[in-house]
Amino acid sequence: MGEANDQGETRSSGKRREWLAFLFVTAVVVPLLTIAAVVGYGFVVWMLQIFVLGPPGHGG
């Protein structure tokens, strides 16, 4: 009986942990990484424009 109860608790806490991890990654981690990637890309292009490419050109 006690064992079954323990199993039930582990089950529900495992479920909780899974949902938390899933939502945390989809709603927080991935969006932040995406923004960081876009921001980083923008900065790299900006720096390239300053040091290598010059101002954005025709159709550039």
Binding site: R11, G14, K15, R17, E18, W19, A21, F22, L23, F24, V25, T26, A27, V30, P31, T34, I35, V38, V39, Y41, G42, F43, V45, W46, Q49, G54, P55, P56, G57, H58, G59, G60
Partner: protein, 394 residues
């Protein structure tokens, strides 16, 4: 650390409790919401309201824009900040948004938080935009103003004369149309470094009585040596004879011609030519005892106007005269070539005669950023190097 490890433990195993369908659905919805939010945020930062939310923009450039055709016009189409200042291409747009971090820095530390600071930086800021427009052929202008959509027949002849060749070359709009949506930097409208150098040089030229000099700038003329009663203005690059010096003042004799119709206020370089040397006040021109008439009623056949040869003797400040006109003409010629060749091949000065140049010049000078004193000098240069003064003329 423990939390991250637990998270990693959960993530690295296939889900036990959440179905694949739920994961797909939630992730898909999350993606839509994220992308929508991202685009909305990008658009918000492109709105005029966002741009003028800092007072640097609101109080300076935004007020200036409201005086221009890009704010209100007969067709009711207008440009907002981002139409001209943010590239529309995605990569360049993102790079520009990141560049704005510098603007955020400036807003926090007050780099241009007063009108004076802004004015001091205006030239630099304008040059950033001009070099950007130069590089992309004024792409942001051409998003609306397309050479291919210009109907030459609808254009005035004057506009067409310059727009058609520009279209053939695909010329960058801002090459000619600077200062169209905001004011030009003050430096460009007031100080010409070459001319300023000559004016400085003139301060150290010593004047000998009885010698001939040329004004390096326009100079106020007075009836008395104390320079209290103004009599008129001597124009730049005019020949004067120094009669007498007294303290900081000098008595000048200006030999000139003037029209004997009207008040005869304007003195001209030579008979029948509208090259002005000085402008006198009405009373002085009419009754002045300082004016000696040598010849009268010489009729110019082209206009039928009677001209008179006069010499005018008035006082002026010292230190504004050069021994010859060469340096002035050189500066003027350089300025003329630089300013005009931006948009078109400049005609040789001897292409027109002295009386044609003023109308020609005033029609074009609005496209340049020459200051008023520079304009005066350049016009005089053109007139005095016109076909009337050159043998090998057209």
């Amino acid at each position: 650390m423990k939390i991250i490890a637990a998270l990693w433990n959960t993530l690295k195993r296939p889900p036990v409790h959440i179905s694949l369908g739920v994961i797909i659905l939630v992730s898909f919805l999350g993606g839509i919401i994220f992308w929508g939010g991202f685009n909305t945020a990008m658009e918000v930062t492109n709105t005029e309201k966002f741009c003028v939310s800092c007072h640097e923009m609101e109080n300076n450039v935004y007020q200036e824009l409201q005086q221009t055709v890009h704010w209100s016009n007969r067709s009711g189409v207008r440009a907002i900040c981002s139409d001209c200042h943010v590239p529309h291409n995605w990569t360049d747009k993102i790079a520009r948004k990141m560049q704005a971090s510098k603007e955020v820095w400036g807003a926090i530390f007050g780099t241009i938080n007063t009108p004076e600071k802004f004015e001091a930086k205006r030239l630099e800021l304008a040059q950033h935009e001009w070099s950007r427009f130069k590089a992309n052929g004024s792409q942001e202008c051409r998003n609306c103003h397309d050479y291919d959509s210009m109907d030459w027949d609808e254009m005035s002849d004057e506009a067409r004369r310059f727009m058609e060749p520009a279209a053939e070359r695909g010329q960058s709009c801002v090459d000619c149309h600077k200062g169209i949506a905001h004011q030009l930097p003050q430096q460009m409208g007031s100080v010409d470094p070459l001319l300023a150098g000559l004016v400085r040089e003139a301060t150290s030229v010593s004047l000998d009585e009885g010698e001939t000099y040329f004004s390096a700038k326009s100079v106020d003329l007075y009836t008395d040596a104390e320079r209290t009663e103004q009599a008129g203005v001597l124009q730049v690059a005019t020949e004067v004879n120094v009669l007498e010096t007294q303290d900081d003042s000098v008595k000048l004799e200006i030999a000139a011609w003037r029209k004997e119709k009207g008040f005869g206020r304007v003195l001209y370089e030579d008979f029948g030519q509208n090259i002005s040397s000085a402008v006198l006040d009405k009373d002085i021109a009419q009754h002045g005892a300082m004016i000696e008439t040598h010849q009268s009623d010489v009729v110019d056949e082209l206009t039928g106007l009677p001209w008179g040869q006069v010499s005018v003797t008035l006082w002026a400040e010292k230190g504004a005269y050069l021994g010859n006109r060469e340096a002035l003409w050189e500066t003027a010629g350089q300025t003329y070539r630089d300013a005009c060749s931006v948009c078109h091949t400049e005609p040789a000065p001897e292409h027109f005669d002295a009386n044609t140049w003023p109308a020609m010049f005033s029609g074009m000078v609005g496209f340049t950023n020459m200051s008023a004193p520079t304009q005066e000098l350049v016009l005089k240069y053109l007139q005095m190097h016109s076909s009337d003064f050159v043998d090998a003329a057209h």
